[in-house]
Amino acid sequence: MQKTEWPFNLEVGRTFFVQSEEELRGGGRGLTLVVGPQHPGSGHMRLFVVVDGDIIVDVVPDPGFVHRGVEKLAENRPYWTLIPLVEKASIMDSMNITYPLILALEKALGLEPPPRAKYLRVLMAELSRVRTHLYDLALLGVFLGHTTAFMWGFALMDMYAEVFAKIAGARTTIAYPVPGGVRRDVKPDHVEAVKRLLEVTRRKLKDFKTLFLDNPVTKARLEGVGIVDAKKTAELGVVGPFARASGIDYDVRKVHPYDAYGDVDFEVVVEKDGDAWARTLVRWREMYESMSIVEQVLKALPEGDVIDQALLFKNPEYRREGVGGVLGVYTYIYPEPGEYLAVAEATRGATLVHLWATGLQRVHRMRFVTPSWRNLRAMVEAMKGGRLADMPAVYMSFGYFPPEADR
């Protein structure tokens, strides 16, 4: 076995990631297998897996198949067009992934969303959290060869897509928040739809649990597989439910509550084992926590505008429920020069946006750190020492989503 301490015992001059295929020289005891970018699971990344027998000795990831240059593109466009750009990183989780950008832009523009907008953001953020967890669980089913889980997960997700389409106007890329508020107000029938959605989800999750989590095969495939202990998790900088599965009690929503998270009551789900089963269970239990947050938000939803008054008064002919009337105002407000940092808890972990504003409408630089990228190293470490047959289970137990990691 090779030493697997960070910063990984590679030869001098070799990077953690594979720069070219010529770097992979043979001659060792192990056999190098190339997994991906086309493989029966989901996700488009390549893993160079060195196996000895069927024990994985070393894994070298080769991400970047979906690197689209979000950070570079962000330098060339006005700040209000960054929202659709950033949300493409994780489209079913678009509310959560744009959250830090919106928080940073609000600091830069000096806007403060009204209470109703804060609650609506939390509502959509938690719905999209449930949805993304369902997506990851459904794909975990595919990776384990459990097609029923895929069908059930996507059937449940589809209801979320329909409700998103109702509230925000799009199934997946909702671009719901704008600096200073949200893009659309909810109507009473939307609230009813969300209530029905939660009721159906709770009912169906029981059956889903019987089919998927209570299945002895699923448990046998996941339990004791890909263990990352708490120390290693902290060292490798793992975030989100994958850190919480190793016993690290850290959630940005609790530590630095943003928007309405300070007003709602929820528990940070923590498991101790740090294996694939714990990572699955954390996400399962988080879905129930998110649903309880949505219920609290619906109960305490304040009345009023959904856009900051400062924005509304800039445009006397605004339409309160339209996009165009208010978004036009952004063309004549400018961010204050300075650096702005915001962190938010996306479904797969803490997301960070660092903006450098120079007083122009185009930001000088946007740094965008996504959770999947930070979990990649732990995923690779968790695979080492395990069996090749367990690799798919470990892969998807980290919910790795390449567009999110590669940006």
Binding site: H39, G41, H44, H67, R68, F150, M151, D158, T172
Partner: protein
Amino acid sequence: MKTLVSQAVSRLARWGTKWSLWPPHLVTACCGVEVGHLFGSAYDAERFGMLPMGSLRQSNILIIEGTITLKMAKFVKYIYEQMPEPKYVVAMGACAIKGGVFYGSYHMVPAAKVLPVHAYVSGCPPTPEAVLKAVTKVQEQIAHAEN
């Protein structure tokens, strides 16, 4: 007589191809989420004879799910070349058409520069219905093909 037989065989082959369009499991970008919905229970693309296949050797339609980056383009081409004839390509999403929100990015290439595309689907991401519509267009192309 010979022509009649060959015509009949060709028609049968085209009918068979039309209802067995199997895509390989190649996810190039985030439109894969909507493709997941497409094969989920709500939209059920298997009605149209679409069944996602693990192996590209047994597939004949390639769905380009959104962006093709320069790094991915090489592999998309490899995969396309390994697929048996006849093969069809559906380019999905604004990114595959011209770039979408990522227009002008240094690491992107439109699908048409990599592969011959039979049908485009617009949207960012396109809805599953739109993809199914494109698939029926491809089926029409197959049915009306010259032998």
